[in-house]
Amino acid sequence: MTRPANAITRYTVVNRVNHWITAICFVLLTLSGLSMFHPILFFLSDLFGGGQWTRAVHPWIGIMLLVSYSGLIIQFWRENLVHKDDIAWMKSIGYVVTNDEEHVPEVGRNNAGQKMVFWSMTLLIPVLFFSGLVIWEVYFGAATSIPVQRVAVLIHSMAAIAAIIVWVVHVYAAIWIRNSVRAMTQGYVTPGWAWRHHRKWLRELAAGQHDKRTIRKHP
């Protein structure tokens, strides 16, 4: 793909492939899961070939999501560790949402909002996986008692709703902060983007604290 000469790599090919496998699984799980959650959304099961197919395929996509998201955890956990700076960023959230970047403290590779998305999903996806196993009728219908399954299905639906809300926030933030989507589709950002949104990360890059390949080429 064509990149400007001063492009900074934000997400590698492996990062991106892994992210988009996760994203596809998540969207499919949301559609199939919601069809079994609310009657007015039952029509979504037609996308999967009807109710029986939806019921059958949903848990398998869930396994794929867990595996895929584990890859994201391995690749991204380090840069999502919480620091003191994150508290200052959270306190300036009013400036963040009004695009008043000058009043927001300088941000490293990820801001506190991005870290919250990461850790929320890191918590919710395993909860969804294990509660989902309990209610996977075909293989585990007899493994636990009915009262346990009732609790599991309640936890599963609440965790799913929480995950969907986090996902809405994640998607909107990516659209709102222009050119973030390009970082995850083509992998690069411009120095201006890094300066505006992740100034501390840019300084670290400039000081050579990150992998040399990150800055592909600059004059």
Partner: protein
């Protein structure tokens, strides 16, 4: 069962439609099982298999009169045998015909996510419309009596239909027809309650002073009722629930969580939309690019003076 539609529906799973109500005069039916008259012959079990063409796999002797060991996708009714030593130290053999209770407020129907897979007819019978069943097992979680069973062959849920096909054409259920002692009776719910009242008086006069009718109000009453000699302790009868009710966990899952989910997700999406049309996107300016370049250049020149 299949969708015969000789009866109007009064309830339909996963639906917000108003059920058709033109045929307004429908008698509520009920099956009355008089446990005190049952001799445990299992004629009802055989009749159920024969009428419904059910042939469960032959199992193994498990050391109990109960055979098969449990209800199943092709075992819709099962005689359950309990040995009970009463206060006088005498043995009582409590035999109960287990199967769907046809609740007036059915937990299975409430939990079902597939529109029209579980219906309740105007006469009170709760029926599974198998071709709409998706095999999720939610009915199992909704049921307070542990009745529905999912088939491993076709991934559909099964239970007693109260012979809705027979009842629709004016016949009694197969088990009722086969019972040799008259322990199972069928008719309008009012008649069955009257009949049970007489029988309970009789049992009381014979010393069963706790005799009574099992028609649990927590599920709005049932269309299968028992006459029990120990109506104060239904759980003596192989774990018949003392106070059956749709679990509050299921109530939360199928009740409050749904609107909360819709509100939560809609709020997040609308907040995004209105943020986009009021505050709008956060775009990189030319000055940002200049500054960004400057940081990179300065670093470069420091490294290579």
């Amino acid at each position: 069962m299949s969708d015969l539609q000789s009866q109007d529906y009064v309830r339909r799973s996963a639906s917000t439609m108003t059920p058709p109500a033109a045929r307004s005069h429908e008698d509520q039916v009920a099956k009355l099982i008089d446990v005190s008259r049952c001799i445990g012959c299992k004629a009802c079990q055989s009749a159920c298999m024969e009428w419904n063409n059910l042939r469960p796999e032959i199992g193994y002797f498990e050391g109990s009169y109960e055979n098969p060991a449990d209800l199943g996708p092709s075992v819709w009714t099962l005689m359950k045998f309990a040995e009970y030593e009463n206060e006088q130290g005498n043995l009582e053999w409590l035999i109960r015909k287990d199967g769907c209770m046809h609740c007036e407020d059915p937990g299975c129907l409430k939990a079902c996510p597939a529109p029209g897979a579980i219906v309740q007819y105007a006469n009170g019978i709760v029926d599974f419309i198998s071709d709409k069943c998706i095999g999720c097992g939610y009915c199992v979680k909704g049921c307070p009596f542990d009745i529905p069973r999912i088939s491993k062959q076709d991934h559909k849920s099964y239970k007693c239909t109260l012979c809705s096909d027979r009842v629709a054409v004016g016949l009694e259920p197969a088990c009722v027809k086969a019972c040799p002692t008259g322990a199972i009776m069928f008719g309008s719910k009012t008649d069955m309650k009257d009949w049970a009242g007489e029988r309970i008086e009789e049992l009381k006069s014979r010393g069963f002073d706790k005799a009574g009718l099992y028609d649990p109000p927590e599920v709005g009453g049932t269309h299968v009722m028992y006459v029990l000699h120990h109506a104060d302790k239904p759980s003596l009868y192989s774990g018949l629930p003392d106070k059956p009710r749709i679990s509050p966990v299921v109530g939360a899952w199928k009740g409050i969580i749904k609107p909360l989910a819709v509100i939560g997700i809609a709020f997040a999406a609308l907040a995004g939309f209105f943020h986009a049309i009021t505050i709008g996107p956060n775009e990189v300016t030319d000055e940002d690019e200049v500054e960004g370049e400057r940081v990179l250049h300065e670093a470069e020149s420091e490294k290579s003076p």
